[in-house]
């Protein structure tokens, strides 16, 4: 099972959600944001090396509370990355580990589209603001064209009651509300997924709810 976590707009919490949903799914999370990697890095080979044909995908796996395939931080690496290699690389990780979560970049360029094309399903992350929803709708259209079924959307960092039904209608998928919780915000940097750090919190329940929607 390959799940893409996408959202169109930057800064809505795709990386954080990808990391935490991967924890709930006991999956590997792949940092597919070639130009602006956000998941913890490492010293070994990374996704840039894999996409440049210089490393085996399996050797990039970095063990942690959630296993990560990190992505390089250099522009040169992003430039050398050949997205045609992504599918085989992700498939190899899937064979090895079962479930793979792809943390997708923002935008509608090839680096955002190819992970959606490679994925079996996708999860959209929106922030409860109108302009972010417009981007999510465009990404939704892209995912539909590229045949990545939408399993749900996460309305992230909610501080006030959001128009969840309107969002769910606009995107055509059930919307789960992830309340603003600093433990979620810190989870990636501290490598403590919220389902472990605060299993009883509302945020952890929302993450588990999203994970339950992912077919396996």
């Amino acid at each position: 099972m390959i799940l893409a976590v996408a959202g169109g707009k930057g800064g809505v919490g795709k990386t954080t959600l990808a990391y935490n949903v991967a924890a709930a799914l006991d999956a590997v999370v792949v940092d597919a944001d070639l130009g602006m990697a956000d998941l913890p890095g490492g010293r070994g080979p990374d996704l840039h090396d894999v996409l440049a044909g210089e490393a085996d995908p399996i050797e990039t796996l970095r063990a942690g509370p959630v296993d990560v395939v990190p992505c390089g931080r250099t522009l040169a690496g992003a430039r050398a990355a050949d997205l045609r290699r992504l599918e085989a690389a992700v498939a190899a990780i899937e064979r090895e580990r079962g479930t793979v979560v792809l943390d997708c970049p923002a935008g509608r360029r090839a680096d955002a589209g190819v992970p959606l094309a490679v994925a079996d399903a996708c999860l959209l992350v929106v922030s409860p603001r109108a302009f972010a929803l417009a981007d999510a709708i465009r990404t939704r259209a892209l995912a539909r064209e590229l045949d990545a079924g939408l399993v749900g959307c996460a309305v992230n960092r909610v501080t006030e009651e959001p128009p969840t039904d309107a969002i769910a209608d606009a995107l055509g998928a059930p919307a789960a509300v992830v309340p603003a919780d600093p433990r979620v915000g810190r989870s990636v940097a501290e490598e403590r997924p919220v389902v472990d750090a605060a299993p009883d919190s509302a945020a952890a329940e929302a993450v588990r709810e999203l994970a339950r929607r992912v077919p396996r």
């Binding site: 931080r73 250099t74 522009l75 090839a110 960092r157 603003a180 919780d181 600093p182 915000g185």
Partner: protein, 289 residues
Amino acid sequence: MDLTWDIDREGDASLVRCRVRNDDAVPRRVRIESRLGAPVLPPRRGGLPESGWDEAGVTLRLDPGERRALGFAARAPPTDPPVEIADVEAVDTAAESVSEEPIAGVERSGSATAAALRRLGDHRPPRAATAGGAGELKDASPAERERSSSPTGDASPGESAASDVDDGDTFDDDDTFDGSDTFGGGERDADPDDSPSASRGPTEWFDAVGTRLDAVEARIDRAERLTDADLAAATEAVAEADGVEELSGLDQRVAADATRLRELSERASALAARAAETEAPVEALEQLA
């Protein structure tokens, strides 16, 4: 079938533009082939040729009255005509849906990746953004170390400015930008004894940038004093720089500084604008914590 063309010479390559129009009342499949003496370099996106192209030409399906513009390059001198219509055939619309599929891709998901690459914009940062980047990082470091271990490297502030004039690579050659772990990445990791300041705070990061800019400023000051300088001022500047050889290449370095500073300034103001746009609800989050 109506075909017009236009050809340009660019270095040792020929660039061909053509327009083709189906003036029949039925859909046609047309094969257009290059007559240039080298393989066709078709339009590409994400490294993949657009669909329909091969190294001899392109096959297109045109609806009645449809016009299409296309272009390609070839490493060969121009010929006249550069392209010709090799074949026109009727399109069997019934067989169409079946025959198109195997061409598009080997299997569903493979073609999905190809489709995404063909249709979506290129994700790669422009070449200019990486020129003088990672490759030079590595090369510059040993030279830098050699210089700092040489006897002239025992620096008073004045001399360190002068040695900065020497290296001329202010923005390229060391860890100005990687305190935040944004650009450093693998290159730095490969080099443990030159460990970058991973633990540097954000203020120190800006301090480092400030120091760099100070060095550039010193260089520009010197260039300014030499601009339209009278003999006395010029002599003074040369004396201060420990001889005229210290000033050699100053003009190129200052010109390079100007370019880099302009790039830096554009990037910095774009980032500042984005930073000003954000409004992270930290307080609300803290209250909820």
